[in-house]
């Protein structure tokens, strides 16, 4: 799968960009704050239907404009697809595939897949459970676009259920209870399914990430990735019944897949607290690479690899290991300075103040 051409209009600090991308390695060079990451964000948006930085549509639209346009020509085997997304500052985004309007986001996002390595990837290990849940859910969407709906449905149901709990103000009136029953049923439908998919994904990720950690660090260690859930054993329906009075009192949903965690441990010790910073970096890189591998094996082609300013954070030895482990596929590397040895650049793109030149 290749992103051949990319056009941007009124996206972030870009007024208008037209860019052809090499099918090998493209280096995006420029000082900090010039818009390098914005290019990565635009491509990743096509893959996920959301910003990998967690930004709202509103903040991706250039100041004073109604909407931003991301357009890309994507080649997968013999097929060429034109993707167009108009991000609207307020309202519904407009999505087109080959000039045909699509209503479902999951019909749009399957065409581009992206693996993004970022400077903040350490949060995969050191950050809270939400970071690891997001990591799994992003991969699920890459593996199968229809998972996007499962994920957005879960978010929506939780927002609605929490909204109802807050309005109830701790009082369980018949009206509150009868609508709460409905949201519980919806939450079970979607939550059980999503958790089952996360568990299956984890079973694939664990051995792959374990091997990669050993290749990236010195010595051998055993990586363990465990899906930790307070409800999975008894089932969500029963757990929601058990936590209902608590939920009503606290005005929020205290049990469900949105509270689950992926426990990472190395040689039996929690990686978050017991691994060195260097080992944590190796682990974060291993997780990204393992995820890339799983997506590739499920979809039959490599996602675009984007390395956003990662080499500034890695010591030379780890950088070299990472480069040697990267698959030979379309890659975009952003950097403010020099790239480490071993990176063979096919195309160099300069970014300055929202202007791209080749």
């Amino acid at each position: 799968m290749l992103v051949q051409r990319l056009w941007l209009n009124d996206f972030r600090n870009y007024t208008s960009v037209e860019l052809s991308l090499s099918d090998g390695v493209t280096a995006v060079v420029g000082d900090n704050g010039q818009g390098k990451t914005n290019l990565v964000e635009a491509i990743a948006w096509l893959a996920r239907g959301s910003s990998f930085r967690g930004a709202t549509a509103d903040s991706m639209v250039r100041g004073g404009c109604d909407g931003a346009v991301i357009r890309a020509e994507v080649v997968d085997g013999q097929r060429t697809t034109l993707l167009e997304a108009e991000l609207v500052a307020s309202g519904r985004n407009r999505l087109q595939v080959n000039r045909n309007r699509v209503q479902r986001q999951s019909d749009f996002i399957g065409h581009v897949r992206a693996t993004v390595f970022g400077p903040d990837d350490l949060v995969l290990v050191k950050g809270g459970p939400a970071e690891r849940r997001r990591f799994l859910d992003d991969l699920l969407v890459d593996m199968q676009p229809s998972n996007h709906r499962l994920r957005s449905d879960l978010e929506r149901i939780l927002r609605q259920r929490n909204g109802l709990l807050r309005q109830a103000g701790g009082r369980a009136t018949p009206e509150v209870l009868s609508t709460l029953d409905v949201w519980d049923a919806k939450l079970c439908e979607v939550g059980e399914e999503l958790a089952a998919r996360r568990v299956a994904l984890l079973a694939e990720l664990e051995p792959a990430a374990g091997d990669l950690v050993n290749l990236l660090s010195d010595g051998r260690s055993a990586l363990n990735m465990a899906y930790e859930s307070a409800w999975l054993e008894v089932g969500l329906a029963e757990s929601l019944v058990g936590s209902r009075s608590d939920d009503l009192r606290r005005g929020t949903t205290t049990v469900g897949p949105h509270r689950d965690e992926v426990g990472l441990s190395v040689d039996g010790m929690p990686a978050r607290s017991h691994a060195s910073q260097g080992e944590q970096r190796s682990l974060a890189v291993a997780l990204r690479l393992a995820g890339h591998g799983v997506v590739t094996s499920h979809t039959g082609s490599d996602p675009v690899i984007m390395l956003d300013d990662v080499f500034s954070e890695l010591d030379p030895r780890r950088a070299t290991s990472l480069i040697s482990l990267l698959p030979d596929t379309q890659t975009v590397v952003t950097t403010a300075g020099d790239l480490p040895e071993g990176v063979v650049v096919d195309q160099r793109v300069h970014v300055h103040d929202g202007v791209v030149s080749t």
Partner: protein, 208 residues
């Protein structure tokens, strides 16, 4: 930035759904340049609509009379009700030409984050129609998104015990979207392929 009168129009237009600040500005300047009678025609049309159009006493469709054209049409099949969120959904379903019963407009869907619960919708009015019109089947045609599905589930649980057959339009509609975006053929098929959620004769497996 602009004369007060212009800014006021831009602000008002900008409050309309789907109109961003730039579009509002463009529309305002277009109106400024057009002949005065165009503006009068537009404002008259809006005022006239607000004066004359009301909601049907029975189904809450838009109407110019106490009862809407569909409710007062004697050829419509009695006992068959299709529940929708908004009057514009009736327009979409009528285009399919495949529905011969009457409608009930809820005025939205259950959505706690928007402050909408069953009490804010025409739910008790719907219940009241069951006996009054000897309803035998209720088709739930709320939108195929989270709120629409939750509303359908809520209504099915409410109507089922009354012995009414409750059905839901088939999936296959653009998921997460609105009925009004579906084309006639898809919507017609969704109506035809509806499945039973509650109530109705136990011996039957399907709908027809």
């Amino acid at each position: 930035m602009y004369a007060d009168a212009v800014q006021k129009v831009i602000d008002e237009l900008g409050r309309l759904p789907g109109i961003g600040p730039k579009s509002a500005q463009r529309l305002a300047f277009h109106m400024l340049k057009s002949p005065a009678e165009d503006a009068v025609r537009l404002t008259d049309a809006i005022t006239d609509m607000k004066d004359r159009v009301r909601f049907c006493d029975r189904c809450f469709n838009i109407s110019e009379e106490p009862l809407c054209l569909i409710c007062s049409d004697a050829r419509r099949e009695p006992g068959l009700l299709c529940v929708v969120e908004e009057p514009r959904d009736i327009v979409a379903l009528e285009r399919t030409g495949g529905f011969r019963g009457r409608y009930h407009v809820l005025g939205g869907a259950i959505s706690p984050i928007d402050g909408v619960g069953p009490d804010q919708l025409k739910v008790s009015e719907l219940l009241g129609r069951m006996d009054a019109e000897s309803v035998t089947e209720v088709i739930l045609a709320t939108n195929p998104n989270i709120e629409g599905e939750a509303t359908a589930m809520y209504l099915a649980r409410l109507l089922g015990p009354l012995g009414v057959e409750v059905t839901r339009i088939a999936s296959g509609l653009p998921v997460g979207g609105d009925l009004e975006y579906a084309d006639e053929l898809t919507l017609g098929r969704a109506l035809e392929g509806r499945r039973r959620l509650a109530g109705g004769p136990d011996s039957e497996n399907g709908i027809r």
